[in-house]
Amino acid sequence: MRERLVGAVRSVVGNRFDRPAGVIAAAAVLLFLAELPMGLRAIALPAALFVPGHILVTTLFGPLRAPVGLTGVGLRVILSMAAYPLLALGIFIVDRLYTRTAVLIAVLAFAVIAALVGMAREYAAGGPVTGPPIELDRAWMAQARLPIVSLVLAFLVVAVGVEVAPRRPPVEFVQFHLSGRWALVDSAVPVERGFEPVVETEIVNRSRSTRRFEVAAYVDGVEDPSDRWVPVRVELLPGEELVVPVTGPLDSLACRTEVEIALRDLDGFDEHDPLTVFFRAADRTDC
């Protein structure tokens, strides 16, 4: 029963997926796998690296002359890799974007054209044309076991090794930047006299320890400590991000008043350069 079923399928798709229906079937397998949900779709990779080349080799050489063995596999893989750019140029020529849908349609169109060529070849030959069946020799398979298992083990050694072998930890750092709309500030910010702006800053602790900071702002040209904006003290756990608003008076508003916002590390680690924001009096039209 099983042999009859296999025979029936082979008679349609060919011994090596090399009859017109086989070419379409190979493309269908690729497209089906590519339509799986995201994540699962990755199993389409072997097909993506083999099917376009297989279609091309079958079309160019015909089922009877298509290279076999290592040459055949290598040729199919390299032609698969080379086929996508030409499909992309085809998509470009018909003035379409190179999107996922376009790639899927191009692969399908490619397979259909190849199948038509195959049908023409079979029509000219007066009957089905297919290569010899693939036969897996038991002795050969027994001999293949050791090298293939070794290759897989070596692959696993590298894949696992890169994860578990000790590596130098990344350098620790702390980001300090203007946040929200303030990150977009591109010139002196106009403010009404007497208005106390609230400048949003953000601290991101990319170190492996808890860090304590003081955010303090200094208005350019103002010496009196009482005019200093109220400093804010914060503590950040490793990886934590915190928005820190600072506010204070701008008594001596001119055409351009600089406010420096400094991040002081209370544990004595690296000092950061202060952020700068410029303000101008909203009623000054000559600035």
């Binding site: 990755a42 890799m81 974007l97 090298p147 050694v157 930047h177 500030v185 350069d273």
Partner: protein, 704 residues
Amino acid sequence: MGTGVADRPRAPVTTMFRLRAEQDPQALFDGAWRPELEMVEPAGPEVTDHRSNHGIRRLLPFLGMIFGSAIVVLSYSMADYAVPGQKEHFAVFWVGTAMFLVPAGWRLLSHRTAAIDRYVLIVGVGMFTYVPKFLAFPYRPAYFDEVGHWIQVERLTDDGLLFVKNNQIVVISDYPAMHMFAAAVRHLTGISTIVVAIIMLVVLHAVALVGIYVLAKTVTGSEHAGSTAAFMYSIGPGFWFFSSQFSYESYGIVILIWGTAAMAKMLVSDPVGWTRTAWMLVVVFIVAVLVATHHLTSYMFVIVIGAYAGAALIFRLLRRDTTLTVGESFFVFGIAALMTLGWLIEQAPGTQSYVAPFISGGAGDVVAIFGGGAGLEEPEGLLAEDLEVEEARELFAGSTLPLYEIIMGFVSILILPMLALFSGIVQLKRALLDRAIVFAMTLFAAAYFLVYPLMLSVEGAEIARRTWSFTSIGLAVMVGSGFQVLSHMPQWWKRAPAMGFTMLLFMCVLMGNLATGINEVYRFPGVYVYGSDTRSTTLEIQDAARWFQATQGPNQRLIGDRTIQMWFNSLGKGILGVPDGGNRLWDFVIAEEEPDAQVLHAARQVGLRWVIIDERQAEFKPFIGFYLDQNEPLATERVKPLAESSVSKYDDIPWVIRVYASEHISIYRLDLSSIEIREVLATVDADNARRSDAARAGLVEEAE
């Protein structure tokens, strides 16, 4: 030499054949044999029932593959923790590498190796050669070009637009084939670009060696000559690291290898059968892909096809090899030349100006070294003899490689011609050169040695290294055809030392090629090195670039040092302000004073909005020799880092807003619309207007 080859009845040739001598090893070795092709059935893989295919001798390379990989992993872990000056990781690396490559190479050199073992070893060696690059910088693009290609694929996947400009590597937008391939795989599989890149490179490395195997087997007719050639190519220059970067060369060169193999297949196929036409179509297909892949690769492929066609013509005229169809060879050559030229003129006219400086610089250096400076223009303030000293390259100057690698770097330069000479003698003795395709490949191999003098110049060395990736294909085939005789030595006490000595030479060549081809900083991970691309990339810079992109959006025009350029152009999706001799935009980064009016004017012209400063520029000299650009003042000539004022110059400038600060990175926004800048630029505009009026007046006077 060659008597009777032309008169001999044409051998029945199919896609599968082997040298008759394989069944008569003694005849091959004692020189009594002449090459003759005989058809073999394209049956399944051969199983060689020889005692070397059982027991420990068979097991060794596979055990070496597993344990060698583990030791190489260990060496990279050691390298990451090594302090400058420590070199133990080099030794461990070589132990791991030799553990696999020596037994694997031995088996590949042997004609008794079972087919399946041969195939898996070829694939295994190919994959193994990618491992060091992967371990050095796992799961991330590391080299400058890699980052450019990576972002090009990301953009193509995101927006679907082809030929989008990339101003980090200006020429790659005209050669998008690799990006198209990677984007297609991303679309089909949903895998991230970096994983696609890793898989692509692993597969390419394996397929490259399979391609060399197919090529050499086709050219020489011997399976184990094919696998010897594959092994030879695997130890070739650039294969371990240069061809391991995610770039268009790595992709293009493997396609070129298969194009070369397809061309050879075409030439040995039945002249009247469809198979020959099919192989010809494969070659044309590959030409079409290569012209859209990489400029140099497409030109080299035209040269390869030209060599085949030329050899076919010469041999036909001399009536030494009548199996070749000269017309088809020239037809393919014509198509390849036309397509390459057409792409260059129509699609990629900018390639010429991109490539020309390397070629003219290299040629000028060589002329200066050998001809007393005649080929060089003399910059102001430098005498020609100073220039010779400046431009002549001292090999391994300042190298941090261990002494034994440096010695091998020099020794391998001598070993390679000896390997080629031995192979040439074998080819002559066995009359292999009476076949046009062997002759063509040997000619191609000779080109490997023609560029040796270029290694003495700075730019020439780059050209030499690039061409070696291609010409080593010819060299591999030549060595494969020559060293196949070793395994046929009848007495084991001669054969074993000969093969052992050959393996020793091969390992020396590999060590020398790695030493001459790549420095420690590009080869191993380790401590931070400013301006090195690989080790100057830190999470701090990458996070700054991500913040920049997230808050400011794409296409912001910016300037920064080279590592900043890499990551703010890619992760930050910014556009680089490209400095040149005319606009001095580099002053925003390297000048010690605040930018002057002319520089501000240039910034306004190009729409520069951002300056990103890495404060370590005042601490270290850049490893690569320049901060931003090869043409910047004092590039490669600095003896100390920039002054502290190059970093602090923005502290009190009223038109610069510092929006971001981390330990080492500051991001400044330029407010070019500020009153202060307007005043400065007004004077420049007035000055420019005055000059242009004067020039116009001068022209009018001249006309009158």
